[in-house]
Structure formats: structure tokens, C-alpha cells
Symmetry: C2
Amino acid sequence: MALIVQKYGGTSVRDAERVMNVARRVTEAYKAGNNVIVVVSAQGDTTDDLIEKAAEINPRASKREMDMLLATGEQISISLLAMAIERLGCPVISLTGWQAGFRTDSKYSNARIKTIDTERINMEIDRRRIVVVAGFQGINRYDDITTLGRGGSDTSAVAIAAALHADVCEIYTDVDGVYTADPRICKNAYKLDDISYEEMLELASLGANVLHNRSVEMAKKYSVKLSVRSSLNTNEGTYVKEVSKVEKMLVRGVTRDNDCARISLCGVENTPGKAFQVFDMIAKSGISVDLIIQSIGNGKTKDISFTVAESQLDIALKLLEEHNSVINAEKITSEKDVSKVSIVGAGMVNNSGVAAGMFEALYDAHINIKMIATSEIKISVLVDQKDAERAVSAIHDKFLSK
Amino acid sequence: MALIVQKYGGTSVRDAERVMNVARRVTEAYKAGNNVIVVVSAQGDTTDDLIEKAAEINPRASKREMDMLLATGEQISISLLAMAIERLGCPVISLTGWQAGFRTDSKYSNARIKTIDTERINMEIDRRRIVVVAGFQGINRYDDITTLGRGGSDTSAVAIAAALHADVCEIYTDVDGVYTADPRICKNAYKLDDISYEEMLELASLGANVLHNRSVEMAKKYSVKLSVRSSLNTNEGTYVKEVSKVEKMLVRGVTRDNDCARISLCGVENTPGKAFQVFDMIAKSGISVDLIIQSIGNGKTKDISFTVAESQLDIALKLLEEHNSVINAEKITSEKDVSKVSIVGAGMVNNSGVAAGMFEALYDAHINIKMIATSEIKISVLVDQKDAERAVSAIHDKFLSK
């Protein structure tokens, strides 16, 4: 008898039909003799609807009250899913975040799970009940409701799988698994059978949009075996686990992220501490910086370029211009219609041929590279947004054609 | 500094505008130097919408899961109202039923409050925060969410007022207070300044629809002073309190209830235990019986008549016909389009003139009386539904014209 944690996102439970569909999957796993814990998100657009309701009343509502409001979304999902499972004749109980023992810190709207008191869940499992748990939420030391922020339900599922030493944590989504590239833009993309945590982390942060990084990091930390699969078919998904077997294939996937913009500070005085000044200021204003490049410069001055999310470009520019008396750049330039294209694969750093191959593929496709950045297991380039899809296909076919 | 409990129903918070309106009233009371606890119901049609969602998935969902679902309605209201109060610049915190310490028995969908652990509320009040509490809900000994059933939010408000020895519990509704009759059907009806618990109990159960009986009973038990008033204007409402002053006016109000139907068992054998047989059977099937009359009969047989809610007439008739081999009535008759018209007033029983006056008023208006029943403080008659409004006006003008 295995212990399985299943997680279903908002689109998987968006209406009565989908809820019944999830209930059937859950009860199949249960009837096969497994103990099953199900973590669900709020239905479809519920969270957005609630945010809109709040904005009508107070656009600057406190985060504590927003969490109180938003937590109702998952409470609705768990009760409806439990009712659907009841209808299929299986014993079931729904639990909110606090009932399931999720204790978090007090950072409303973006809380971290501190501990899970598993007593209640274990008791229900011992009674052979299916346990339906509200994702995305917990309570803090004051017994106030908190929410976990983006990717919260994935994180809830992985945390409970870790706490109960579950055999597997299945993340159900609207795709079949993890692909070598986005199948919508690269016709030769194919599904990976398994992938390491590290590779998944790079893919997730690069816009593959399947699993949130936070949950992958937690899975890695507690060695939780993840399975990413579709809630709409029974295809085998992709396993994310400790170490994927040594393989010939070095490159595991190609991703594209359109949500970026480039900022360049040109002609900055070449003295120590300049980069610190710039990025400290930006970080303190809550803006996330991605790729960073500093040119060697001409001795007296240097250029600093970096990318931010497109939505944060204007704020970042305003900030830099206001403080240019300190930074003292000769010119501040920016560019919006750019994309980050990346390849990910373990051991890449030891094989300089990979980078060369990537650049060659882009050269052959006549695509200009604006910035380059590399890490242990990925290489990213910034290109014009109009070239991005062609870039993904060209690189994919170079490294990943079957 | 007074401690005030205010309760607002679903229509009072049905949209953003109404929520802001309630927030203004609450903050006025707070700024006048009072400590304020606000109990709110779910917004407008929220509860009905949730019930519909559940019915789509499982029309026979367990009550435990229904309570889990329905409790979200008030959680949404409290957070929105807290946000509205934040916007007006007053310190505020919302609390769900369990956070506010409402402990109930385990009768899901119709739970009774057992105790209120007031520690959290008191702490918040000590910090001079406005406390917004979710009505209608609590948790049981298993830490599972329960709801209190009909009139639940009124009951929550009175319970918290009792537990904290509040100076007054203000029930805000869409009428100005308690009237001598329904102003929509009796143009001479006027508002009462105060009324005793007992009178209010009779008026509530007779269809005055202002306060649920359960909350009035609790207010009486713990001597909580109630004030019934409108959320849409600042008129003085009606106080419901320990003992209303001795007054000349014996009759306090006239009510009408259209939701009733008459059943008669004619020619029942005149032996002991017949009434018990009939009403025991009906009670066990969950049907509530109201007026009961048994004719003296002709010695060998008697007639038993009673009223039930119109919606339960068919079930009751079916039940009686199925068991007529035991009851052995010669004939079972019924009638749907009837109304119960009642007058209420303390001390009525000691004044036979009241009953006579009521019958005279009906006689003068050419209205036929089908059944009569009396209690300590009320006299009810059953009339044709088409005559009911005229009956109310005739009786009102006889006893209550100013």
C-alpha cells in the first residue's frame, strides 16, 4: 500500500464536470489500495474574482485581510471535491490549511511553511479516508490565516509529501509532463521521462511554467519524488527525482521567456562598488533582476546591462534616473521587445561545445545575440522577441532532435 | 465607554456600496468612544449560490462538507467589511467563527453554541480594535467547522453579547423596527418603541420575520438588551428587553402567516391515545405541526384538525393516508389557501375581552374563522388567505389605532 499525494490546480477543478473528473482519478488511486491525500487550489477564476471584490472596496487592503478573503477559494474547492468523492462512494474528509496542521510564518500573502502538525491527517489516513487538503494556506502563531503566494498549492503538496514520507507527489496540470521545449512553438519537442531537481529548477525559473521553483526546491531538500502529469489523460508524465541516470543527452530542454526587458547603464565610472550601488538600490525597491552583464570597458568607464520583468521596466528606469546623480552613468538605455532563450542540462559547464553549438545554431538561423549568461547547468541568451520562437526551434533541433 | 455588538444581515452587505455603508455606521459608533464588535452574515445570495454549486456535484452531500462550504460565505463578508473599515482609517480585525472562539456541538448544519472562548476577542478589544466576527459558524470538538442553521447570525450576535456582557446588541435589518403589523398590508401600522422578550418570541414565530426565535430566546435567557433597527437610516428602532413597562395597551401586534395549510382527520374513533398516535407519527417524520384543534365529537367519534407548513402538506397527507389503517379516520381533508392571523400581547389571557374583540372585528369585516388557538400571550385564527390582509387591518384598527 503506497501513500500518494496528488495535487490539482485551479483549471483542473474549474467547474462541476472537472471536479467530478478529479474525483474519479482520486478514487481510482484509492480503490487500487493506496492511501491518498489530495491538495487542491481554488477553482478557475475564483481568486481573481475575490481580488476584484476587494479592490472595489479597498485597493490598499491589508495583506492580513486579503489572506482571510483568498483562503475561502481553496475552502470552496476542498468541500466540493469531497462531495464529489462522497458521490462516488468513497470515505473522504476535507481539511482547511489550519485543520491539516500547516503552520507558517507571519508574512501574509507570501508566508513560508514552518511545520506541519500531521496528527489530524494521519488519524484520517488510519481510518482509510481520502483526505482533501486546501493548498496555498496555513495559519501563523496568532492563529491567523496566511497564504503562501505564487506556486503555493504545489508547495503545500510537496510539504505534506515530505512530512508524511509519501511514496510520490503527483502534480496534475494541463500538460502531459516536462517537454524539451514548448510543443506549441517547436514541433519537434518531446516529453522527458525523467529529469533531475536541478534541471527542473532551471527549467521552471526559465519560463517552462509547469512547476513553481519553490516546490521543486522543497522536493529536492526532502527528496520527494515528483511526478508531473496531465489531469485530462492517463499518459505517463515526467518524474522529477534525486539524480537522473547518466545519459548521453547533455541538453535537457530549451525554454523561452518573453517577460523581460533590458536596461543598460552606459559609461559608468570604473570604480569599485558601482555594481553594488546599483543592484542594492534596485533590490531594496523590490525589483527582481535576472541576467547581469558588465563590460570590461575602456579602463575609465564601463557598461552595466541587466534584464528585469517587463512590467517592472518603467519603475526600474524611474528609480535609476532619479538616482543617477549617485550612479553617474553617461546614458541609460532600455529595450522592451526582447526574449530570453535558454538551454538547460546537467554537466553543461564542463562541455564548452554546448555553448559553441548554441551560438552556431543561432548564427545559422541569422539571429543576433544581445546578451549571454551562463550558470552550472544553463546557458541563456537575450534575443529580439520576434526571433525567439525560431531560436528555440533552431537550438532544439541542434541538440535534441531524436 | 460602552461595549456594543452590531449585527448586519446579508442584504446589508450585499455589494461594495452596502459594505461601505455598514463600515461607516460601525466606525461612527467606534469614534463615539464605544468598543464595537460586528457580526455579519454572508453577502446577499452567496449562500444560495454555494448551495447550487454543491447540488450540481452532489445533491446528497454530507452536512459536514456543506458546512465547510457554506462557512466561506461569512469569511468573505468579514474580510471585505474589515477592508472597508481599514479604508475609513480605523483599526480593525476580522475573525472567523473558530478564531472568535465559537465552540458548538457536532450537529452539522444546525449546530448549537456550547461555549465562547472570549480570549481572542477580548485581546483585540483591549487593543481598541473593531472586531468583525463571522456569524452563523463555529467549530466542534473535532475542530471541524459547523454552521448554526436558520437565524444563525442573529444567534451568534446575541451569544457574543451575552458572553461579553455587552451593553446592547443591535440587530440591523431592512426594516425600522418591530411594527404593530406589516406596514405593507396595514396602513395604520406603527413602530413599537419597546417590547418584551415574550412578546417578541410570539411575534417572531408568527411570521413577523424580523428576528429569529432562537436569538430572542437566548437574549431572554442571558438578559441581553436587543435593539432592532434599520441599516439604511438612523431612526431609533425597537428595544427588546427584560420587562416592558406596564402599559395600557394590551395588544402589541398583529401578524399574518400565509405559509400554512390545514389538515383534518374526520370521524376518528373516540378512544384515548389517538392524538398521540397521529402527532407522534408526524413528528417522527420531521414535519412541524402548528395549531391543533380536537372537536369534542359526538361521543363515538371526534375530528382532529391541525396546520402544517404549506410545503409539507403533501408529505403529511401521504403519511396519514398510508397509516390510516391504524388511525382509522373516516375521511382526511385538507385545504391550502389559508392564513394564520394572530394578535400578541402580554397579559392577554387574563382579559377575555381581547378574544371577543378580535372575533367581533372579524365578524364586522365578514371574515369567517376556520380555527382558533390561544396561548398565554397570543390568539391565532385561521382564515381564508384571500381575507388575511383585511383581517390584519380590521384587528389592528380595533386594538391598535392611535
